[in-house]
Amino acid sequence: MTTTYDDLLFEISKPGRIGYSLPESSIEKTDLTNLVSDHLIREEPAELPELSELQVMRHYTGLSNKNFGIETGFYPLGSCTMKYNPKINEDIARYPGFAQIHPLQPEKTAQGALEMMYRLEENLKEVTGMDAISLQPAAGAQGEWAGLLIFKAYHQANGEGDKRRKILVPDSAHGTNPASAIVAGYDVVEIKSNKEGRVGVEALKAAVGPDTAGLMLTNPNTLGLFEVDIVEIAQIVHEAGGLLYYDGANANAILGKSTPGEMGFDVVHLNLHKTFSTPHGGGGPGSGPIGVKDYLKDFMPAPRIKKEEDEYSLSYTHPQSIGRVKGYYGNFGVNVRAYSYIRSMGAEGLLQVSEDAVLHANYLKARLEPYYETPYKDHCKHEFVLSGIRQKKLGVRTLDIAKRLLDYGFYAPTVYFPLIVEECLMIEPTETEAKEQLDAFADALIDIAKDAEENPDTVTGAPYTKAVKRLDEVTAARKPIVVYQKN
C-alpha cells in the first residue's frame, strides 16, 4: 500500500521506533517508586508516536506542502498585514545569545538582552508618539486587555473606578475589542458607524457621559478609512473624563505620517507580528507591546526596564502597577525580530512602507471598483472593503469567491468582516507585493466576477486544487472530534 502522507502521526507509528538520541548517562537510576506513593506513578504510558527521524521529517514536510504561507503566494488578509517576514531576522533570533538564555539568569549576564529591549522600547516610543512602552503583552488582544486595566487603575486612582464602567467600541471594531473590555470587567457600549464608515461625532456625543471609562478605536479603521474627526473625537472623550485606546492592528498605514500620540490617544498597542514583520506562525506567537502617555506610566505592567549609566536592569517596585499580564518580559524572541526589522528600515524606510502600502491598496481598489460593489468611495488607507452583494444575487456568495481565489494560487482576503458590510471582502495588499502580483490578483478577482455571471457553478464548487475540497464545518461543530480516535 502506498503512503499518501495524509496519515496522522499515530497512524504511522510503530512500537520500537525512535527519532532521538540522548547521551548514555552513567548516573545511577533513582526509582520513582521510592519517592512517591504508587497512585502518583503513571499506570499507562502516554500513547505518543514512535517514529524514526526521517519519518517525522517526511510527515511534517508533507503537512507543510498542504499549507499556504507568505512565501507560497500573495496573502491579502485584511487587518492582518501579511508582509514579507525577513529571513535574516530568523537567523538573528536563533543566535545563542538570544535563544539560549534563561529569563531568570542574573541581569548582569543578560545585558545584551536588556539593551535590545530598551532600544526597542525607545524606537516604539518614537513610532507611536507615546512616553513609555511595555513589551510584556504577548499579542494584540493582551495589549488591549492590559491597556484597559490601565484605564481601570487610572480611574480608581482618581476615585472614579466605581462610576466609570463603560467602554465605547465602534461597530466596525475587531471582536477582541469588546471581548477585552469584558475581561477587564467593563460593560461595552457599541457606537454605530455613520454613512461614511466612520465614528460620527454626534453618535459619540450621545454615548459619552460620566460613566464612560474610555473609547477604543482602530485608526485607520477596519474599513480602511482614516477617522478624519479624530481630534474632535479625542476632545469629546477627554472632556467627558474618559481615555482613548488605540488598537494598532492597522498601524501599517500611518508609519511616519502621524502617531497615535499626536492624535490624542492615551494608550496604544502595536501588533509587532503585523506592522513590524514578525511571522504569524499560523496564528502566533505574536507580540503586542503597549505604549502610554506620561500620566499613565505608573500603572504599566511590571517589571520595567531601567537604564542607569550604561547598565540595564529590571525594576519591579511599582505599587500602582496593574501587575503582570504574562510570564517574564513578553515574547522576547519575537521582539528581537521586530527590533531587527526596525533597524533594517530606519525612519525613511518605515515612511516608505506606509506610502507603498496605501498606494497598493488604492490601486487594487481602483482596479476592482468596476466589478465589485465598493460601499465606501473615499480613498482608503492600507486596506479596503468590497461587498459581494452583486454576486450574491447571482447565487455566488463571498465565501465562494474566497474559495475560488485559492485555486488561483492566492490566499483569500478576510471575509464577512467587518460585520457592518454585507458579504464583505476585506483586502490588505501590503507594501512588499510587487505591482505584477497586485495585477495578477486583480485579474483573478475580475475573472471570478465574470464567472459569477456566466459560470456560477465554477465558483460555488471551489476549491478544486487544494489538498481537500470544501470542508463540512457544520458536522465538525455538531459532532466535535477534537482528538484522534482509533478506529
Binding site: 519517592l35 513610532v127 494584540g140 488582544a141 499626536e262 504574562k326 533597524r343 465538525a476
Partner: protein, 451 residues
C-alpha cells in the same frame, strides 16, 4: 525615498503607473484625510537611527547577543519554570519551513490543512499526557493559560474565590491576580508545609465560595503534590481542581486527569522550545469533556470534505471573541501555533519511549546531586518526592553563591528565600543535559564555598 529598499519592490515607475490608475497626482493626496494638526512634518518627523544593511545589522545584533551568557558556555542549574533541555535538530528545521512559519490563522482550512492537522495532533498528544478529553491548540504561555482557567472556573461555578497554593510559581500568582483584578473575583493563598501545600490549611479554606483550587504539579519547589488527596478535599464543594503541570514530568507521573483534575494547564517549553529569555513559549489548556464549549481560544476538529475525505477545521468557533464580541468570556485571538508545532515535532521525534527516558534522566540527575550535597553536609529542605528540582539551604546569601558559581562557568539556581521565608535558600534544577562533571563541579563549589 531615494534608494530602493531590499524589502520593497515598488519602483518610481510603478508608483507613477499606479497613481495614474487611481486618478490622483501624488501619494500625498492619499494621506490628505489625516488632519493637519496631527500630521508629521519635517520638524515633527519620527527620528530613528539610520537603516542598516544586512551586514551591519548582523554585526550589531551579534554584539548585543555576545553580551549575554548562554547555555553554550555555561552549565545551567536554573529552572523555576523555564528549562534547559535537549531538543532534536529537526524541531528547528520544521519550524523554519515558511509554509508553517509565515501563515496566518487558518481561516481558509482548504489552504491550511498542514497546520490544522499538526495542531489536531498537538491537541491529541496533550490530552494523552494530561489525561484530559479536550485540549485547545495553545495559548500565550503557562501562566496566561492558568489565568484563563481561573476565569473559566469562576464563570462556570458562579463562585467568586480562587485558592492557590503558596507553592505555585510566583509569576503565575502575579498573572492570576491580574486576571482576578479584571474579572473582579478574589484570590487567596494557602500556606506551605515544608515545600508542599499545607493540606490542613487548604481543607479549612475550602468553602461554598470556592470556585477552584490551583495546584502546581510538580510544584514550584519541585515537590510532587498528592493530587488525589487534594481532589478528595474538594468533594464536598463544587469547586474545580486546576492543575498546572510540567508536561515532561507527566511522562512518568500519573496524569492529572486520572487523579481528578478538571482543568490542566501548563507550558510546553520543556518540549523542544528554546528558553529565549522567557518567550515565546507555549501554553497548553486541557479540560474534561463537560467543559469543552467553555475552552478559550482555538480548537481544531476533524471533519470531511464534500468528497468524504478526512480534513480538519477550526471548530466550536462560536465560543470565540470574533463571534461573541461583548458576550465573550475570553478575548484570546492570537495563540502560539508555531511553538505548539515545535513541541509536536519534539514529541513525535522523542516519542513514547524517549519521553519516559528523558524524564527518568531528570529524576536520576537531580537526585544524584541532592544525594551528593546531602552526604557532604548541605541541608536539603525538599523531601524525597521531587522531580528535577529541589531546595537547598546554604549559609550565605544566594547572590554571593551565584557569583562564585558564575566565575566557575555555572548558572546557579533560583533564590527562593522570599518565597519560602527562609534565607539563603536556592532552588536547584538538574536536567538530562547536565553531565556528571558539571554536577560534581556544582557539588564541590557548593560544599566548599557555600558551606
Amino acid at each position: 525615498m531615494t534608494k530602493q529598499h531590499r524589502y520593497l519592490p515598488t519602483t518610481e515607475q510603478d508608483r507613477k503607473d499606479m497613481l495614474e490608475t487611481i486618478g490622483v497626482s501624488s501619494i500625498r493626496e492619499l494621506f490628505s484625510d489625516i488632519p493637519e494638526s496631527t500630521r508629521a512634518t519635517k520638524e515633527k518627523a519620527i527620528e530613528l537611527e539610520d537603516a542598516l544593511s544586512e551586514l551591519s545589522l548582523t554585526k550589531h545584533m551579534k554584539e548585543l547577543a555576545a553580551k549575554n551568557t548562554t547555555t553554550e558556555t555555561h552549565a545551567y542549574f536554573l529552572g523555576a519554570g523555564t528549562y534547559d533541555h535537549y531538543s532534536p535538530s529537526i524541531v528547528n528545521h520544521v519550524l523554519l519551513r515558511s509554509e508553517f512559519m509565515t501563515a496566518y490563522t487558518p481561516y481558509q482550512p482548504e489552504a491550511s490543512q498542514g497546520e490544522l492537522q499538526a495542531l489536531f495532533e498537538f491537541q491529541t498528544m496533550m490530552c494523552e499526557l494530561t489525561g484530559m478529553d479536550v485540549a485547545n491548540s495553545s495559548l500565550y504561555d503557562g501562566f496566561t493559560s492558568l489565568g484563563e482557567a481561573c476565569n473559566l472556573a469562576t464563570s462556570v461555578t458562579k463562585k467568586q474565590e480562587v485558592l492557590y497554593s503558596k507553592a505555585l510559581h510566583p509569576q503565575a500568582k502575579e498573572v492570576i491576580s491580574t486576571y482576578a483584578y479584571g474579572m473582579e473575583y478574589a484570590v487567596k493563598e494557602i500556606g506551605l508545609n515544608g515545600t508542599a501545600t499545607d493540606l490542613e490549611a487548604l481543607k479549612n479554606s475550602i468553602s461554598n465560595e470556592t470556585a477552584a483550587v490551583i495546584i502546581q504539579y510538580p510544584n514550584f519547589f519541585g515537590t510532587i503534590e498528592d493530587l488525589k488527596e487534594i481532589k478528595s478535599l474538594l468533594e464536598a464543594s463544587k469547586g474545580m481542581l486546576i492543575v498546572m503541570a510540567n508536561p515532561l514530568a507527566l511522562a512518568l507521573l500519573e496524569s492529572p486527569g486520572k487523579l481528578g483534575a478538571d482543568i490542566v494547564v501548563g507550558d510546553t517549553q520543556p518540549f523542544g522550545l528554546p528558553m529565549s529569555y522567557g518567550g515565546p513559549h507555549c501554553g497548553y489548556f486541557a479540560v474534561k469533556k463537560k467543559y469543552m464549549r467553555k475552552v478559550p481560544s482555538r480548537i481544531v476538529g476533524q471533519t470531511v470534505d464534500k468528497d468524504g475525505k478526512r480534513g480538519f477545521v477550526m471548530t466550536l468557533q462560536t465560543r470565540e471573541q470574533h463571534i461573541r464580541r461583548e458576550k465573550a468570556t475570553s478575548n484570546m485571538s492570537s495563540n502560539q501555533a508555531l511553538t505548539a508545532l515545535g513541541s509536536s515535532v519534539f514529541l513525535a521525534a522523542v516519542g513514547k519511549v524517549g519521553l519516559q527516558e528523558m524524564a527518568q534522566q531528570n529524576i536520576n540527575h537531580a537526585h544524584y546531586v541532592k544525594n551528593e550535597l546531602e552526604s557532604k553536609g548541605v541541608t536539603v529542605l525538599s523531601e524525597a518526592n521531587f522531580f528535577n528540582e529541589f531546595v537547598v539551604k546554604l549559609d550565605r546569601p544566594i547572590n554571593e553563591v551565584s557569583d562564585v558559581l558564575l566565575d566557575n562557568g555555572i548558572i546557579g539556581g533560583y533564590d527562593v528565600s522570599s518565597e519560602l521565608n527562609e534565607e539563603n535558600t536556592m532552588l536547584l534544577c538538574v536536567t538530562e543535559k547536565r553531565t556528571r562533571e558539571e554536577m560534581n563541579k556544582l557539588v564541590s563549589i557548593l560544599t566548599g564555598e557555600g558551606k
